[in-house]
Structures are given as C-alpha cells and as structure tokens.
C-alpha cells in the first residue's frame, strides 16, 4: 500500500488532508458562531430594561421587576416576561447596587457548591431540584407552602430565610444542609436566582409550574 496507491480510499495522505480540512472547517465555524453567541448572551443594561429592549440575559437590575414565564405563540415555547416594577427586599436597587448583589450571589452559588446537588440551567447534579426558574416556583408563591413555613411576608425574604437555615424548614426526608450562608449572602443568592429566572432559555423547562392538581403516579 505504501509503495503503490491503488485507490484514493487507501491513501494515508488523502485521509490526513481530509482530517485537517474537516477539523479546520468545524473549528472556524465554531469560532464564528461563538462570536455571534457571545454578543447575544452578553448581559443587557439598565437602559435596555427601562426602554423595554429584550435581552437573552438581562441586566442585574431585572431584580426590580416582576418576572413571569409565558407561552409565546410566535416562538412556540415559553419565554420569560419582564413586567412592572416591584420592590426587592423592600426597595428599588440602583444599577451599581444590583450588580454588586448579583456578584455576591453568583460567587456564593459557586463557593457553596450549589451545582453539586442542584442543576442550574439544567447542568449540575440531580440530587435536588433544578434552580433555573426557582424564583417563579409555585412553592414560593403567596399561596405556596414555603411562605407560611418561614413566616415571612415576601417571597425574597422567605427564600433568604430558608437558605440561611434550610434544615430548620425540612420539606422532605432529603434536606438541604446548613452551609453557613450569611444574611447578605442569602440576599445575593436570591438576586442570583431571580436574575437566572429572567434568562431566555428557549422554553426550558417546558410547562414550568403549569400543572394543576397532581399526578396519580405516586
């Protein structure tokens, strides 16, 4: 075979060149798409929010707004909605303060190792619920069980209280452990969760919180 090539299909140089071209082409396409995607997932600004400009990942000040998750007939799946303003921990946050709070929250989500029990945007471990849309989970709504359990009057305070003392408020035999989360870190984490719920995830998870009644499967 090395002496005489009977066919291109048994020629090593042919396959080497093909491998190089295909790899090069795939890599260039990936890099090109990466530039496009990076532009689309860069965090928006406070002005975008004020002017109603939709961003896939909104600015940190999105914590000052009501967030929903509604079916878009145009896109064929659910999308996050950013509604009217609502106070977050009793006040409206400036762009700088909101960014600082989100920074603390994201940092804490890493240092407390959330991702090795929970999934964030569906990635992580599968021991605890997905947190992508945790902020709008019915369990934390006015009529949900968590508000009464923690004795708080707002959703953000209830979540912050739970995060600081999770095993004091057990919901199931499988509990979240005490991770030494401080009051400030808890606030940051709630901001991080609220911000994450406003990210456009192309309809994941589907039908979130739309179930009425419960299944007979159990």
């Amino acid at each position: 075979m090395a002496n005489k090539n009977l066919s291109v299909w048994t020629s090593i140089p042919f396959w080497r060149r093909s491998a190089a071209w295909v790899t090069g082409f795939a890599s260039i396409l990936l890099i090109w798409l990466t530039f496009d995607t990076l532009g689309q997932i860069t965090m928006g600004t406070d002005d975008d929010l004020k002017n109603g400009v939709t961003k896939r990942v909104p600015a940190a000040t999105v914590i000052n707004y009501k967030i929903g998750y509604e079916m878009s007939t145009k896109r064929g799946h659910e999308v996050p909605t950013i509604g009217e303003k609502e106070p977050f921990f009793g006040k409206e946050w400036s762009a700088d303060d909101a960014a600082d709070l989100l920074h603390l929250g994201k940092l804490t989500s890493q240092t407390k190792n959330c991702m090795n029990c929970h999934t964030l945007l569906g990635n992580g471990a599968y021991y605890a619920p997905d947190l992508t849309k945790a902020w709008i989970d019915p369990a934390w709504s006015k009529t949900g069980p968590m508000m009464a359990m923690t004795g708080k009057s707002t959703k953000e305070e209830a979540i912050a209280e739970f995060l600081q003392h999770p095993s004091t408020y057990p919901t199931h035999a499988r509990m979240m452990p005490e991770l030494g989360i401080t009051a400030d870190e808890a606030k940051g984490l709630v901001a991080f969760l609220k911000h994450m719920s406003s990210i456009d995830t192309n309809g994941f998870p589907r039908n979130f919180g739309k179930e009425e009644g419960s299944t007979n499967a159990h």
């Binding site: 048994t10 295909v22 990936l30 804490t108 190792n113 991702m115 990635n123 179930e211 419960s214």
Partner: protein, 479 residues
C-alpha cells in the same frame, strides 16, 4: 505494580514515569468508587452523613477523582508510548518526574481541602483556595495554575521528543491533539457573574474534552496498542486513525451545540447541535469495527501461516481494549443519542438520563482503554513475553463492566420515571421533583444502582489486586 519500576525491565525512563502516573491513577479510581457509593447511599438514606459529609461533597470528590485519574492515566500512557513511537529517549524525563511530584502533592492538598473545608464564604478568596464550585473543574484557582505549569512540562517533553525523533502518524495526531486538550483547560479558568456566559465557556472545556480531544486520544492509544498487542500493520491503523480524527472532530466540535439548547444561547444551536451530535456515534461504530476487524485479520493471517497460537500477546490489555470498543459505542454513542435531539432533550435535560449516559460513557470510552494501557505497561515493566488473563483479571473486568452496565440501566429507568412524571406530567417544579423522586419505581431503581455500585467496587478490588500481582505471576510462569 508496586515493584514494576524496581524490576527494571523497562527500556527507557519515560516508561518508568508512565508507571508512576498509573499507580496514582488506580488509587484515585478507587477513591472515585468509594465516593460514588456514599452518594448512592445518600439517595436512599438521606440522613447518611448529613451535615457531616453531604452529597455535594461526596459528588464533588466522585467526579473530580474521575477526571484526575483519567488525566493521570492519559499522561502515563503518553509517556509509555513516547520512546517507542519516536525512537528517541524522552528529552526531559527528570523534569517530568518533578512535575509528577508537584501534581501529586497538589492533588492531595486539593482533595484534603474538599473533604475537610468543604465550603467557603462567598468571596473571591474561596475560589482561589477552596474550590470553584463548577462541576468537573472545581479545582481552586491556585491548583489551576499549578496544573497548567505541570501540563506545560509534560507537553514540552512530548513535543520536544517528537521534534527530535521519528514523526509517526500516531505521534503527529498525539502532539496536535494534546495541544488542543491542554489549551482548552484555560477556557474554564475565569469568573463571571453571567451564568449563561459561565456555562458557555465551561462547555468548551467539558465537551471539547470528552466528546472531541479525549476521543481522539483514545483513537491514538488504540492504534498504538493494536500494533503492540496483536501486531497490527502500522499503515492500516494509521489510516484508520486519520479517518477517526476526521469523523470525531467533524462531528464532535460542532456537536457542542447540544449543550447550548437551554442555557440562554440562541435557537440556531438546536439545528447545529442536533445534526452534528447525531453524527457523533458514527466514528464510534468505525472504531468498534476497526478493533474487531484488525484482530480477526491478524489472527487469520497467522492461521494462514499455520500458526495455532493467538496473536494476542497481552490478554488482559486486549480484553479491556475490546470492552472499550464496545463500551465507547454503547455508552457514548447509543446512550448519548438517546437524549441528544432538542425535541427529547427539553424533557430529559438535567435528569437521571444524563447520569446514566455519564456512567456508561466515562467507563466505556475512557476507563476501559486506560486500564488496558496499565496492563500493557505492566507487561513491559516485568519483561513478560505473553501476558495471560488470570482469574483475578477475569473477575475484575467482568464485575466492573457488569456493575457499570447495571448502574446505567438502573439510572436509565430512574431517568425515565423522572422525565415522565416530573417533566411531562408535573411541569418541573420543586414539588414535581420530589414527587418523582419518591415514586416507588424510582426508589427501586436507585436501590439497584447502589447494589450495582457495590458490584463495581468488588470488580475494582479484583482489578487492583490483579494489577498488583499479575506482573510477577506472569514473569514467574514464563521463567
């Protein structure tokens, strides 16, 4: 394995260094299984070690031990083949040994900090000193920098030896692929407040490792091993290798799109991810066919010459390589394809389906061939002409493979339940999650997973025992 270096049948210093890496790899493999077992028990009895050694800690050490033992075994395997392929003594093996000790000291400190400190306050210092809380690449920043330094030493050794020696096709692929593999690690070494951006680059490391560069690495190992173990023709395995590189990179690089369906990234990744990741099993079928075909062909030629003996000069290594050919296709190919299309993945993303796929693919695609390389290293270290399967080798390969397969099936069933009930019926909420987790069939599946985990650990004990003894036993049998 302990006396593999003292026996000193190794023809060069690079192989000694390879054996050093293999020893640490097998210890970390054991640690991985113990941690996995703790986590599996916690699924069934959540009170087990609660607030003492929580699931998050066990799971972090479980997956980190996995990544690190595989990297150790990969470095070991590269040092093992370096001089054989290039015909040149490694240029800076002394420096390589220093790198080995640095890396091993760093890994020890990192693991102790994971186990003892566990979590830190929400500050940058925690990321630098404790861990980064990013699945698979949790290593704290100081260790990241240390890893880069050690990998640079390793790469310098490989590259400089390659430049001085013979440039075979196998080594050319190895040198180019290792550069990509090492460089990609840097995509995971920064912090951002933007979780979508975070995960976008995180996948550059994870996906482009396990679904591109690691797979090509397996291709080069299989090529080298087939030449050494069954006497396959270099022209044939190298041609296969280039075809595999073409198909693996051609599908795997853009197959990354299947991780970009739901993390905030644009919709066009649906089409790109679906198309290219659906092609990812194709090279795995090719690799499977290639290993079995070459084996059959070489045996046939030998029989044609009137020889009756097997062409296999290392039974356990070949057994693990054949398991790799099958396991890679089944675990990475089939189990990956199960949930790679967005129409399916919108429901299965982040469920036990992923765990099932993860277990069989890491084992089938990587653990198997790396263990095969360890057996090959032992054969060389003890100067054994023909290494045969012992009872312990057979028990090791049978029980670990059976155990991992069992865990995979159990987790697939658990995933199926979870997808239907939590995602399909109940809309993925906090409550939906727990309803699904408490279904009797789900719990039963988790129980089987734990049982199969024990079987895997038993297999590992046989395997480790065999690795410790087979060199001496085979040598004595031949004497």
């Amino acid at each position: 394995m302990l006396t593999s270096i003292k026996e000193n049948h190794l023809t060069n210093k690079g192989q000694e260094l390879g054996m050093m890496y293999f020893r640490v790899a097998i210890i970390l493999f054991g640690a991985q299984l113990v941690m996995g077992l703790i986590a599996a028990i916690q699924f069934l009895a959540p009170g087990f070690l609660f607030e003492l050694f929580d699931f998050s800690v066990a799971r972090m050490v479980h997956i980190n031990a996995l990544v690190v033992w595989m990297l150790y075994a990969m470095i070991g395997a590269t040092y093992m083949m370096l001089t054989d392929e290039t015909g040149h003594e490694g240029v800076a093996i002394g420096l390589g040994k220093l790198g080995f000790w640095l890396l091993t000291a760093a890994v020890t400190v990192v693991v102790l900090v994971y186990i003892i400190v566990q979590v830190g306050p929400g500050t940058e210092a925690s990321l630098w000193l404790i861990h980064e809380g990013r699945e698979y690449i949790e290593a704290p920043r100081w260790a990241d920098i240390g890893i880069v330094v050690v990998v640079l030493i390793f790469y310098f050794n490989v590259f400089a030896t390659y430049m001085k020696g013979e440039k075979t096709g196998i080594m050319t692929v190895m040198v180019a692929n290792l550069l990509a593999l090492a460089g990609l690690y840097m995509a995971g070494m920064f912090y951002t407040d933007n979780i979508s951006m975070d995960q976008f680059w995180w996948w550059w490391v994870i996906h482009l490792w396990v679904e591109a560069t690691w797979e090509v690495f397996v291709g080069t190992l299989a090529a080298y091993a087939l030449i050494k173990i069954i006497g396959a023709k270099r022209e044939i395995v190298e041609m296969w290798l280039w075809i595999e590189v073409l198909m693996l990179f051609g599908s795997g690089i853009l197959g990354m799109g299947h991780h970009y369906f739901w993390i905030g990234t644009p919709e066009y990744w649906w089409e790109i991810g679906a198309l290219f990741s659906a092609l990812e099993p194709v090279p795995l079928i090719a690799m499977f066919v290639h290993v079995l075909y070459d084996w059959g062909k070489e045996q046939g030629i030998a029989e044609g010459r009137g020889e009756t003996a097997s062409v296999i000069t290392n039974g356990p290594a070949m057994a693990w390589i054949v398991t790799n050919a099958f396991g890679n296709f089944l675990g990475a190919g089939i189990w990956g394809f199960f949930h790679t299309l967005p129409q399916v993945n919108i429901y299965t993303h982040g469920t036990q389906f992923t765990a099932a796929h993860g277990h069989l693919s890491f084992f089938g695609a990587y653990a198997t061939i790396l263990i095969g390389m360890m057996y090959y290293g032992l054969q060389r270290a003890y100067g054994v002409q023909r290494m045969k399967l012992t009872f312990k080798s057979k028990m090791g390969i049978f029980l670990t493979t059976f155990g991992v397969m069992g865990m995979t099936i159990a987790l697939t069933i658990a995933g199926y339940e979870q997808v239907i009930v939590e995602r399909g019926e109940m809309g993925a909420t906090w409550n939906a999650f727990f309803v699904a987790q408490n279904l009797p069939w789900y719990v039963q599946a988790q129980m089987w997973r734990a049982i199969m985990g024990v079987v895997t650990l038993l297999g590992f004990i046989y395997l480790a025992w065999d690795l410790l003894t087979i060199g001496k036993v085979s040598k004595e049998a031949e004497a």
